[in-house]
C-alpha cells in the first residue's frame, strides 16, 4: 500500500470474483430478514463491507474516480425518510404508529409479513450508505493529513 494504486495483482483478481458474491450475500440477508436470521442492519453492514473491500484492494484513486459522494448521502437520507414514511403511513391509514397495513400473505413466503420487508429495505439502504460514507470520510481525512 505504498502507492495509492492498491494492493498486488493477486488481491485485485480475487477481489473481482469475490466482491459480487459478498454484495449478493448482503442482499440475500436483507431480503430474507423475516425468514432466517439476519435483517436490514446486518445486510447493510455486509454491503458496506463489500464496497470497503473494493476500496482496500484497488486503492484510493479508483475509489475517488467511481465513488459518488452525493449519491451515498442521498441513499442514506432516502433510507431514513423511507422508514419514517412507513411509520407515518400507519397513522394515516389506521391511526396507529407503525401499523402493519400491508397485506401479510402466508408464512414462509418471500413476500409476506407486511411492512417488515419494507422496513428491512429502508434500514438496509440507511446502514449501508451511512457506514460506507463514514469509512470514506476517515480515509479522505488520512490522505489530506499526509500532504
Amino acid at each position: 500500500m505504498k502507492n495509492n494504486g492498491g494492493m498486488s495483482i493477486i488481491v485485485k483478481r480475487i477481489t473481482r470474483i469475490t466482491v459480487s458474491l459478498i454484495f449478493l450475500f448482503g442482499v440475500y440477508i436483507m431480503l430474507h430478514g423475516h425468514l432466517s436470521p439476519g435483517g436490514g442492519f446486518a445486510g447493510g453492514v455486509i454491503i458496506a463491507l463489500s464496497f470497503i473491500h473494493l476500496v482496500l484492494a484497488f486503492g484510493k484513486d479508483f475509489a475517488f474516480r467511481y465513488f459518488n459522494k452525493t449519491l451515498a448521502f442521498f441513499l442514506e437520507g432516502l433510507g431514513g425518510i423511507l422508514f419514517l414514511v412507513i411509520s407515518l403511513l400507519g397513522i394515516f391509514i389506521g391511526g396507529i404508529f407503525f401499523l402493519n397495513f400491508l397485506p401479510k400473505g402466508s408464512p414462509f413466503n418471500l413476500f409476506s409479513s407486511g411492512i417488515i420487508l419494507a422496513s428491512n429495505f429502508a434500514i438496509f439502504l440507511k446502514v449501508g450508505a451511512g457506514l460506507f460514507s463514514i469509512f470514506i470520510a476517515l480515509s479522505l481525512y488520512r490522505l489530506s493529513e499526509k500532504e
Partner: protein, 171 residues
Amino acid sequence: MIELYIILILMIIAAMASIYIEDLLSSVIALGAVGFGITLAFLFLKAPDLAITQLVVEILSLIILIKATIKSNRDINKEKNYISYIFLASFFIIAFLYFGYKAISELPKFGFPITKVSSFYIREGLNKTKAVNLVSSIILDFRAYDTLGEAIVLFTSVVGVLSVLRRNNEK
C-alpha cells in the same frame, strides 16, 4: 454451558492482553479476539441474529482500527507512579464487585427469564405478523419504535462524523 465459561475466560484474557501489550496493532488484534468471542458466546446462547450482526460490525470496526493504527506506532510513556494506580484500581474493582453483586442478585436466574410481556410475542408473533423469524417480527413490528430510535442514533453519528471531518474533506 462449560464452553460458554471457557469463552468468557478467554475473552477476559484477551482484554487484559489488549491493555498490556505495548504494540498498538497487536492490541487491536487482541481487541478483535474479544469481539469474536462475543460472537461465539451469542452462538452458544442460540441467538444467531445477534451473532451475525456482531460479526459484521466487529469486522468493520477492526478494519477501521487497523487502518488507523497500522502507520503510527507511538511510544507509550510509562509512568512509575504505581501506588496511586494500585489504590485507584482496587477501589474501582471493589466498587464494581459490590454493585455488580447487588444488581445481579436481583435478576432472575440464568436460563429462567420472567416472560410476562414477551410470552405474548412468542405465542402470537407468527399469527399477527406472519413473519417466521420471531426476532424480526419483534424489532420491526411490535417494538418498531425502538428500531426507529436506533436508526436516528445511527443517522446522528454519521452526520456528526461527516461534519467533523468536513473541512479536510472539501479542501
